[in-house]
Each structure stands twice: as structure tokens, then as C-alpha cells.
């Protein structure tokens, strides 16, 4: 059993996996990783050594030290990261020697980064999963002094993934159970407005800001609570749209104007605060086609993993490496080939 010590951690650092589907009858949302594609990437890099669970880091990472030689994968939103002071590249697997301090800082390209370890987390299954569901009292955010244990497994370090496709410029939505309460006017407003993702975003949901007039449902605010779907966009009392995310409550009384399709939810989750968001309606068959294509992408990812080759001419972002320390690790990534 290897020990991973948390030396420090940002405010939203939790263990996450695929979550707990099928528990809404008990009032429990599924939870799980905000960017499940990042877990698929970790599985591609670590192969069978990945147990499906990773450390999810919202906006800020943390500092970690292990007491054994491990192999890690860094996926999801890129974050500033060094190993004993030497910069590492995101989107790759790396050796993590015993005693070396892995220092993961702020996200540089998104919102949620993932640290995966080759091996099996020694975390009890609770209601069928290992991940934290803070709203349900399952686990808690990681903080300084916490120690995680893992049964390490062999995996190849120095592997890289191809870049993800650029995120969709317009987030696709389908009608919700209550979309018709907003009429054509509501649909036009949602498709014609440029929203801004605000800093009021968490694993539970994200508030959007916009200019101009908002919309209200013709049912007003005294609505009997109804079941929610992941990705529902509810219009709260002051007209603010709020997208319900993985750890949202299971029922809600605010009317919902649309539902973000599952294939676009990871991209929406990864938008940093301040990002502009636009929506457009698609049909349920279109949403399912996008979901199927994404499933195929995830399945084909392992075959696209390649050893990383060091090539100076492809080091576009040379300045981002910690050259000041005079150390560039041999495992540093420098490009994709």
C-alpha cells in the first residue's frame, strides 16, 4: 500500500469517479467527475492500471508527496505543474518518484484538472462508488494533512494524448419538461443571448450573467417541485439562468427553460468564469448522436496514445517551462508527434 500525502490543496479538490447513477428516488444526484472525458483520457494513458477514480481539482490544484514510486496521468484542464521544481506537461503520463513533491497550481486552460494514479485507490465503496458527494455527506474536499492510500500498479510513463477537439462554440440544448412555459420568446432569448459564466460555479451548478431583459415562465414562481435532469437550465427568481451540474439537488421548484445535452456538459463544465456562453436547440436524436460519437471517441483513445518525443522545434510554449531553475526533466513533454 502506497501513501499519498496532501501537503496543501485548493478549495475544490475531491476524489471523483463515474458517480452513482440511479439514486434519485432517495434524493441523491449522481455526482461524479465534472469532466468525465478526463477520466477516459486517464484510462487511455494508464490502461488497466486506472481504477476509474481520480483527484479532481477545481481551478486550483495542490501539493502532493508519495512514499513510493508511482506513475500518474494528468488530464482535463491544463494546470501549472512541477515535480520537484521541474515543469511537467499536461495530458501525459509521468513517473512520480517516492518523496518527490508534485506541485499543481492554477488552471491555465479550463476549470477542472485531474490527477490519476496507476493503481487502485484504497477508498471504501459507498453506495457503489468511491467518489466524493459532499452534498450527501459522502467524503469531503481534500486538505492539508490528508493521506490517501493506493495499491500501486504498473503503467507506462511518458505517454501522451492527442489534443482534444476544440470545444463547441455553441453549447447544444434540448427542451426541458418545462420549456413550453417560456414560449417561442424564451427559446429566441436563450438562442440569441450571449451569456457569461460567472464565478458562482461549483459542482452543484453555475450561474450565468447576461445583459438586457431576461425571461420568466408564464407559470410564475409558485411551481410545484419537479425532478431535475443533469444540465437543466433553471431560471431563478431574479431571472438568473443557473445550470444544474453533477451535485445538484434532485428536485427543484424553479422553472427550467432547457437542458444542456450530455455531450456538451464536459465542455461547459470546463469553461472558466468570464467565458462567453451561447446556446442553440437541437433534437433528442441529435443529442444522442453526439453522445454516441463521444462514447466512440473515448473508446478509441487508447489506440491514439503515443510515447512523447522531446523535440525542441515544437516547444511553442518554451517560456512556460521553469527554465529559471535550470532543470528540464527528461520526462518533460515537449510536443506531440
Amino acid at each position: 500500500m502506497s501513501r499519498i500525502e496532501v501537503l496543501s490543496a485548493g478549495p475544490s479538490v475531491t476524489l471523483q469517479d463515474a458517480g452513482r447513477a440511479g439514486m434519485a428516488a432517495f434524493g441523491l444526484s449522481a455526482g461524479g467527475a465534472m469532466d468525465p472525458l478526463a477520466l477516459a483520457e486517464a484510462r487511455a494513458l494508464l490502461g488497466a492500471a486506472f481504477d476509474g477514480c481520480a483527484i479532481e481539482m477545481g481551478q486550483m490544484g495542490g501539493r502532493f508527496r508519495a512514499d513510493a514510486d508511482l506513475v500518474i496521468a494528468l488530464t482535463g484542464a491544463a494546470m501549472k505543474v512541477t515535480l520537484e521544481g521541474a515543469a511537467l506537461s499536461w495530458g501525459q503520463s509521468h513517473p512520480w518518484p517516492a518523496g518527490a513533491v508534485l506541485d499543481i497550481g492554477a488552471a491555465t486552460g479550463g476549470a477542472y484538472g485531474y490527477l490519476s494514479v496507476a493503481g487502485t485507490w484504497d477508498v471504501p465503496l459507498r453506495l457503489g462508488a468511491k467518489g466524493t458527494h459532499f452534498q450527501a455527506g459522502i467524503g469531503a474536499p481534500l486538505g492539508a494533512g490528508d493521506v490517501l492510500t493506493v495499491v500501486a500498479a504498473k503503467a507506462e510513463a511518458g505517454l501522451g494524448l492527442p489534443s482534444r477537439d476544440a470545444p463547441p462554440e455553441v453549447i447544444r440544448v434540448i427542451p426541458s419538461v418545462q420549456s413550453h412555459w417560456f414560449g417561442d420568446q424564451g427559446r429566441d432569448w436563450l438562442e440569441g443571448t450571449v451569456f457569461t459564466k460567472t464565478a458562482k460555479a461549483s459542482r452543484m451548478g453555475a450561474a450565468l450573467a447576461f445583459g438586457g431583459q431576461g425571461v420568466q415562465s408564464d407559470h410564475g414562481l409558485s411551481v410545484t417541485s419537479e425532478i431535475v435532469s443533469l444540465g437543466d437550465i433553471q431560471i431563478t427568481g431574479d431571472g438568473t439562468p443557473y445550470v444544474l451540474m453533477r451535485e445538484a439537488q434532485t428536485t427543484g421548484g424553479y422553472p427550467r427553460i432547457a437542458t444542456v445535452i450530455s455531450a456538451d456538459l464536459p465542455a461547459f463544465a470546463q469553461m472558466p468564469s468570464g467565458a462567453q456562453v451561447r446556446f442553440r436547440f437541437v433534437t433528442v436524436p441529435e443529442a444522442l448522436a453526439a453522445r454516441a460519437a463521444q462514447n466512440d471517441w473515448a473508446k478509441g483513445l487508447r489506440a491514439k496514445v503515443r510515447p512523447v518525443v522531446r523535440r525542441l522545434e515544437t516547444m511553442h510554449d518554451l517560456l512556460s517551462y521553469s527554465l529559471v531553475s535550470g532543470v528540464v526533466s527528461a520526462t518533460d513533454p515537449e510536443g506531440w508527434e
Binding site: G22, A25, R126, G137, I174, E226, S229, T251, V284
Partner: protein, 240 residues
């Protein structure tokens, strides 16, 4: 006996919802729970979950195993098989919870009793004699909305928020009880406190679900403390 006109809606990209009435009624709620059980009994391969809310039943499925059309057909068959305005809510399980209404355990009991036109003692006795249906879960995991109480319990929510009620708070309004699973602010008046620790995230004990029947069993502070010390779980009705 009333007429219900169920309406089917798509629920996200992998679900269907059947709403029995636009607003909560005891009959719509009974129909929702009964429909949930009928859907579960179909045993359709590819169904991820079935459940019910205050006035609706829902089914979620793997859309690559089951199509919307197939599930909607099955749902229409279920709906055609019963007179939903006359069904009784199936009782899933019966529970009791030791509860205290004395002093600080029920800070707004006297106020609520005044609004209901009863003495606090009569109100507590009436609550203890009324098995309440879990109408739905909501707000937080495992947190039930319970009903329905006699007409004089039809007291509106207070306009001001109580900043914080504890987990286990028994709060009343509009002929219903909300039993808090987590500490929270609320507009419902706290009339007592159940010796209950809320949602059990380990699943080692039972968790409440719609259709369960729950009765509050008035006890003194000592018995309250003893049940909390023993874990604060739901007690099957009839067990000691």
C-alpha cells in the same frame, strides 16, 4: 375520487416523465407512487431508474439499449391499465422515529398551535396518531416531504426565514411536515425534533423513499438522546 389526466413529457435525453396533475394533490401523489411501482415491475432491461416526485413518476434508461418510443409505449400501456383517479398509494415500508417536542426541541410549537387553533399538547398528540406518507424526497438527499395532516394544519409558511434548524427538525406548514436531513434555513416552523441523523451515506441502514409511511413517536429528552446515541436510524413500525 377525482379525475386525473396524465401527461407524458420527455425528460432530458434519456428519460420520460408522466405528470398526473399540474399541482400536488394527495391523489396525484398516490398515482405517481403507484405508477412508479408499475414501471419498476415491468423489469425492462436498460432501465436505469424509476422514481416519483410530488405529482409525477419518471423513468430513466440507457438510450442505446431502449428507445424513447419503446419506453413511451410501455408507459402508455401502464397508464391505460388503471383508473389513476382511484388508485391508493402503495405502502412501501412503515417506520417510526422517536421525537421530542419539549422546550428547545420545538421552538415554534406554541406559535404554530396558536395558528392552528389547538393546544400544543393536542397538536403533538394528533401528529403522533397520524401516520404520514413520504410524498417525495427533495432539497437534500433523504429529506422527506410528509403528508397529509388534518385541515387545521393548513398554516402558511412564515414570511421570515428561520436562519437555521438542525438535522432532524420537524417543521410544519400547508398540512405537510418537512423533516430536515441537514441543517438549513427555512420558512417552515419548527415544532419538534426527530432523533434522526438524516441520509445514511453508507447505505448500511435504510433510507426513506416516496411511499414509505412514517410516524413521529413523542419521547422525552432522555429517550431522544438514547436513540441518537444508538445511531439515530429509522425504526421499523412494530419493532421495539
Amino acid at each position: 375520487m377525482m379525475t386525473l389526466d396524465p401527461v407524458i413529457y420527455p425528460l432530458g435525453e434519456d428519460g420520460l416523465l408522466v405528470e398526473f396533475a399540474p399541482k400536488l394533490s394527495m391523489q396525484a401523489n398516490a398515482a405517481a407512487i403507484a405508477c412508479r411501482d408499475d414501471l419498476a415491475a415491468l423489469g425492462l432491461e436498460g432501465v436505469v431508474e424509476v422514481g416519483s416526485t410530488l405529482k409525477s413518476a419518471f423513468v430513466r434508461f440507457d438510450p442505446f439499449v431502449l428507445s424513447h418510443d419503446v419506453v413511451e409505449g410501455a408507459l402508455r400501456d401502464v397508464l391505460a391499465a388503471r383508473d389513476w383517479g382511484a388508485v391508493e398509494a402503495p405502502v412501501a415500508r412503515r417506520w417510526r422515529l422517536p421525537s421530542c417536542f419539549d422546550g428547545d426541541f420545538g421552538p415554534q410549537l406554541a406559535e404554530f398551535a396558536g395558528l392552528a387553533g389547538r393546544s400544543p399538547a393536542d397538536l403533538v398528540a394528533e401528529l403522533a396518531e397520524t401516520p404520514l406518507r413520504v410524498l417525495a424526497l427533495g432539497f437534500a438527499p433523504g429529506m422527506p416531504y410528509l403528508g397529509e395532516l388534518p385541515a387545521h394544519w393548513d398554516v402558511p409558511r412564515q414570511t421570515a426565514l428561520t436562519p437555521r434548524v438542525p438535522a432532524g427538525a420537524i417543521t410544519a406548514a400547508i398540512r405537510q411536515i418537512v423533516l430536515f436531513a441537514v441543517p438549513s434555513g427555512t420558512g417552515w416552523r419548527q415544532i419538534g425534533q426527530a432523533a434522526w441523523r438524516g441520509f445514511d451515506p453508507d447505505g448500511s441502514g435504510p433510507n426513506l423513499t416516496a411511499g414509505d409511511v412514517l410516524r413521529f413517536d413523542p419521547v422525552g429528552a432522555d429517550a431522544f438522546a438514547a436513540h441518537m446515541a444508538a445511531g439515530g436510524g429509522l425504526i421499523p413500525e412494530g419493532a421495539l
